[in-house]
Amino acid sequence: MTEVRDRVIAIIAEQALIEPSDVKMEASLADLGIDSLGLVESIFAIEEAFDIQVPFNANAPEESDFDISSVAAIVAAVEGLVREQTA
C-alpha cells in the first residue's frame, strides 16, 4: 500500500505546487494551500488514478464518508477504497 500513499502524495503535491517530499502526513489540505476548488480537483485526480469512486460531497464535506482532515486520513481512505475495489 506504500504505492497508494506515494501516488496520493504526488497528486496532492502537484495541486499544492510543492515537492512530494514536502507533503507532511499530518498536514491538512488547507495547511498546504489547497482551497475548495483544489480539493475537488484533487479528488477527481485520485478517482482517475485509482479508478475508484470517492464518496465526497463538496456541499457538506464534513458529512462525507471520506475523511479529508489530513494527508494521512486521505491516504487511509483511499487505501480503504482501493482494498474494497479489489476485494
Binding site: L37, V40, E41, I43, F44, E47, E48
Partner: protein, 402 residues
C-alpha cells in the same frame, strides 16, 4: 450629457496576436483565413477558418489557470491585458467600484463542451473534470477579467449571436453615459473552431468551402473565425483629466429587432438600427465616411445590408465607404463586432480604411463602394459599425474622431 471615449484596445485573432499586427494585416489586405488545424478534420466538409495560429497557452498561463480557462476566456484575457495596459489605468478603491465588464459571446466555452461530450459519449467515461461548469459558462470570460483586474462595478455577458459584441459595447457606452459607471471594459470573444462547433455550422449550409468574399457577385458563404477584441471605454472628462490618449469617441448606439425570422435578415430592421444610431449620436448622415459592414459573405446578408444602408443614407450611400473585414479575419460570431471596431478606430485615428479582400466581381445588388481588395487612405470623421444577428437582433455603434 456625459461623453464616452476609448482609451485602450486589445485583440487576438487570425490576423495577429495584438492590435499592431492586426492593423498592419488590415492595411496590407492580408487574409488570415486558411486550412483549419483540428481533430477529425477529415470528417468535415468545411475545412477553412480564421484560426488563431502559433498560439501557446502555456506560455501565457499556468497549469491551474489553463484548467479553469476555456479558449474563449484565454483570448479575452489576452485582449483585455493589451487594452487595459494601453489605457494606463490601475484599479483600486472607488475606481474599482465604478468599473465594470460587459462582454459578448454567442457560444461561451464551446471547446469545453466539445471536449467533455467526447469524454462521456465517445470515450464512454462516467467522470469529467470538476471545472467543466465554471470553464464553459458564458460569463466565465467577464468574471475572470473582473477578478484579474479587480473590477467591481456592473459586469455581465451578452449573448445575441453575431451581434453580441456590439450589444455589449452598446451597453457599456450607455452605462457610462448614464452615470452607472465611469470606466467599462467591453468587447467580446468567441472560440468555436472545434469539431462540434464546425459540424453545427456545416448543418446550416451557409458556409463557404474556399473563401469569404463579401459583396462580390461570386460570394458563396461565410467563414468562421475565432479570437477576441476588448476595449476600455471611459468617461471623457475623466480621461482628459488624467491625460490619457483618446483613440476615438463613442457617440451613438441603437438596437432594433426584426420580429420576423430566426435566420433571414430584414432590410427594415437593419435600416432602423442604422438610423437609430445616427439619431442617438445627433450625427447628420452626410458626416459618416465609413461603415464597417456586418458583411458576412452570404447571399442574403450582403444584399440586405446594402439595401438597408441605401435606405438609411439616401444619396449619401454612394459617397461613403463600406467594407467587411470578415473577409480577412473570418466571422468571430459573438466576438466579431469587437475585432471589427478596431477597423473603425483605425479609420478615424490613422485615416486608413480597411479593405474587403477576396472581392472578384461586382454584384448589382451590392452597388456601394466596398473598398475592394486594397486599403485606402481617407480622412473620415465619423463611422458606423454594423452587426445584424441571427434571430433578427441588430446593433449599430457610431464613433467619431477624438
Amino acid at each position: 450629457m456625459r461623453r464616452v471615449v476609448i482609451t485602450g484596445q486589445g485583440t487576438i485573432n487570425a490576423l495577429g496576436h495584438d492590435v499592431p499586427s492586426t492593423l498592419a494585416a488590415m492595411r496590407e489586405g492580408r487574409c488570415g483565413i486558411g486550412e483549419l488545424e483540428m481533430r477529425d478534420l477529415d470528417r468535415l466538409a468545411v475545412r477553412i477558418g480564421g484560426q488563431v495560429k502559433g498560439y501557446d497557452p502555456e506560455a501565457l498561463f499556468n497549469r491551474q489557470q489553463i484548467a479553469l480557462y476555456d479558449r474563449f476566456t484565454q483570448f479575452t484575457l489576452v485582449a483585455a491585458g493589451e487594452a487595459i495596459g494601453q489605457s494606463g489605468l490601475e484599479f483600486s478603491g472607488e475606481l474599482s467600484a465604478r468599473t465594470g465588464v460587459v462582454l459578448g459571446t454567442a457560444g461561451g466555452g464551446v471547446n469545453t463542451w466539445d471536449e467533455n461530450y467526447r469524454t462521456v459519449y465517445e470515450e464512454g467515461k462516467n467522470r469529467v473534470h470538476p471545472f467543466v461548469v465554471p470553464k464553459l459558462m458564458n460569463n466565465a470570460a467577464a468574471s475572470h477579467v473582473s477578478m484579474e483586474w479587480n473590477l467591481k462595478g456592473p459586469s455581465f455577458t451578452v449573448a445575441t449571436a453575431c451581434a453580441s459584441s456590439n450589444h455589449a459595447m452598446g451597453q457599456a457606452f450607455q452605462f457610462i453615459r448614464a452615470g452607472l459607471a465611469d470606466v467599462m471594459v467591453t468587447g467580446g470573444a468567441e472560440s468555436m473552431l472545434c469539431f462540434g462547433g464546425m459540424k453545427a455550422w456545416e448543418g446550416l449550409r451557409v458556409m463557404s468551402k474556399d473563401a469569404c468574399r463579401p459583396f462580390s457577385a461570386t460570394r458563396n458563404g461565410m467563414v468562421q473565425g475565432e479570437g477576441a477584441g476588448v476595449f476600455v471605454f471611459e468617461e471623457m472628462e475623466r480621461a482628459k483629466a488624467r491625460g490619457a490618449e483618446i483613440l476615438a469617441e463613442v457617440v451613438g448606439f441603437a438596437m432594433t429587432s426584426d420580429a420576423a425570422d430566426i435566420v433571414m435578415p430584414s432590410k427594415q430592421g437593419a435600416a432602423r438600427a442604422i438610423a437609430g444610431a445616427l439619431a442617438d449620436a445627433r450625427l447628420p448622415r452626410e458626416e459618416v465616411g465609413y461603415i464597417n459592414a456586418h458583411g458576412t459573405g452570404t447571399a442574403a446578408n450582403d444584399k440586405v445590408e446594402c439595401a438597408a444602408v441605401a435606405d438609411a443614407f439616401g444619396h449619401h450611400a454612394d459617397r461613403l465607404m463600406i467594407s467587411s473585414t470578415k473577409s480577412m479575419h473570418g466571422h468571430l460570431i459573438g466576438g466579431t463586432g469587437a475585432v471589427e471596431l478596431l477597423a473603425c478606430v483605425m479609420a478615424l485615428k490613422d485615416g486608413v480604411i480597411a479593405p474587403t479582400v477576396g472581392y472578384e466581381e461586382p454584384d448589382p445588388e451590392c452597388a456601394l463602394d466596398v473598398v475592394p481588395n486594397e486599403a485606402r487612405e481617407a480622412k473620415v470623421t465619423a463611422v458606423l459599425s454594423n452587426a445584424f444577428a441571427f434571430g433578427g437582433l441588430n446593433a449599430v455603434l457610431a464613433l467619431k474622431a477624438a
